[in-house]
Symmetry: C3
Subunit: 263 residues, 3 copies
């Protein structure tokens, strides 16, 4: 049975996520629905994008992924079905889907034409329930993605700076701060290894507290108490971390902040 995943900035207190699940189960009560996260900060497309691109590659090939961080709901921003090698994405064309689509192997995007849902009421303010959940259920039922509407040649981009490297160091951008306070940077595993970085070396961070040394470790528990460490983390990105403390709180860092690192 196909798996449908859900991500949103709705939280779990309000009825919104439950209504999406009800719509999907009303189409087929045997579908498996998995929550990826509903704790995305309100309207924070970059945060939603990060959670999608890290979590979705672990789901079964052929899963259908619904994502709703949608400040422009009801306006001209397009509702999309995005077909990838490893799964299908459903959500708004506002930058939320573009990075995970690359990770899952982008093949084609299609606009969801609301004429496809003739006879069903579609609210102007809750496409998550009225368009996206219904689309996911129809896809799970076997409807072909290219029947929802016209092809969309290019998805709306998400503007995340790349790492800037010089002889003395590099400037990175914070992609995400996790609930442990680990600071996840846009420096990926490949670049990390290419730069000759490895356990035992030490980096210097330019921070609000001045220049701080941060040796490279393999695990959080190896970092000495109250000191900073750099770790090639489990999400495929380099992290600035502390042992059993929040590095983000210590350094005053938040998503999209930039940080200079010296070799």
């Amino acid at each position: 049975m196909v798996t449908i995943t859900l991500l949103s900035d709705f939280g779990l207190t309000d009825p919104y996520v439950a209504e999406m699940k009800g719509v999907i189960l009303s189409a087929d009560p045997d579908l498996t629905i998995v929550d990826v996260s509903h704790g995305i900060d309100r309207h924070n497309i970059a945060m939603g994008s990060f959670i999608l691109e890290t979590a979705l590659p672990y789901f079964p090939r052929g899963s259908i992924h619904v994502a709703v961080v949608d400040p422009g709901v009801g306006t001209k921003r397009l509702p999309l079905v995005v077909v990838c090698k490893l799964g299908v994405l459903v959500g708004p064309d506002n930058g939320l889907l573009v990075r995970v689509a690359q990770k899952l192997g982008f093949k084609a995007g299609y606009q969801i034409d609301s004429q496809r849902f003739k006879g069903e009421k579609i609210s102007a303010t809750f496409h998550g329930r009225d368009l996206f959940a219904r689309t996911a259920a129809k896809l799970a039922d076997g409807l072909r993605p290219d029947t929802f509407g016209a092809e969309v040649k290019e998805l709306v981009r998400l503007d995340i700076p790349s790492v800037h490297v010089s002889d003395e160091g590099m400037t990175c951008t914070v992609l995400h701060v996790d609930s442990f306070g680990n600071v996840i940077l846009n420096l990926g595993e490949g670049e990390f290894l290419t730069l000759g970085l490895h356990e035992g070396r030490s980096l210097v961070l330019n921070t609000i507290l001045g220049q701080l040394s941060a040796p490279i470790f393999s695990t959080y528990s190896e970092i000495p108490s109250d000191q900073l460490g750099v770790i090639l983390g489990s999400q495929g990105y380099v992290e600035i971390a502390m042992r059993e403390r929040s590095a983000a709180a210590m350094l005053g860092l938040k998503p999209l902040d930039r940080i200079e690192i010296r070799f």
Copy 2:
């Protein structure tokens, strides 16, 4: 396979919700369990009622809905099975179920007689697990609702004022403030249309900040920055909203507050 939904004020940190799920799956591991919300404010029956009446109509016909906001657990308040056209409700008779029962098409209510569970231990403080979850599992297994106990002619009411309309305006009550800060009023879609309200018109709100103009819009993103708007929302009720800000915080409004609106 039948869907069982759960709503409570237990939160998701403690073992309580997991214990209810364990009880249900121990009766039949193939049942589908969906969380509606466990973020209801502690003992807030009106909030639980609102989430139930908005979310449950989207679930498959024949679903079994367990709801536990139950400050009087273990006292004389009755445990209930409520049969509706579109589903069956299980929970305490304290006002929590009455509005959603109307929405789902009330047919009959039955007391749950704890003698039905002879030989099984029933705690005095956790009927959610020991009575309601077990009842849901038995209903899913095909047990008839009228075998649980005596018929209950009328459910305990929930006292929510209706809208008061005059020539100059109306007085509404706040049903819910969602996690975006949208203020959901007890003014339903039918009444809204009957009053001749529609996009393009503007209303005047009597607020703690004085009289404020609030034009009627279709979508949140049409509301000008830092201004108020009125929207016929996705939950079937009129909402006072701001674009990417909390209208409730701006106006100091919370559930059951009353607000005067002038035409």
Copy 3:
């Protein structure tokens, strides 16, 4: 179909829990996954242990329970499979599993040898996804627990003081404070009854507010407003509670605090 439960200190905002679910569903999309709790305080092994020992006994016999509160991930602490009469536990050998293993009927423990996962990448910082979730999926597929690695004779203990009883009273330890503010003590139902405690009797608590009387009640709603009560709670332990207020906030009590109680 076998049920797999998950408990962690990851929270539900980050991608970590979703990645564990993706790994399990990629092995078999028809497995049922249930969240026990992901709200364990960061690295709080005692809190995780309490939620496990109270919730897991309610799940179907033969369920597989994955638990990850793992400050020592990547160090020498062992990854474990623990076979019990009523289910199988998977997680770190750091005290998290020992109490629930007793409750479920401990039979044998086995180290998870990462050589079992040859060819699959195992991060040093996220065994929840790379070792424990995969192990659970393999167990669900029928792999025998004793094939994962060498037997472990004794699990790492969790140091929770037992109740100290004298003629005048007893000293108890706080096991957990629930989201209602109820203070759950390490005084179990058996000991409570052995001591001749029962409804109608009254105890005296030595608190930061001085000596306070706390009569024994059956239900929360019987406790007079703004007073303390003692209840033999639904989790098998004695609780200090208030009606619709937080006893923990009133008394300044938190997990592992000790409290003197006079008969």
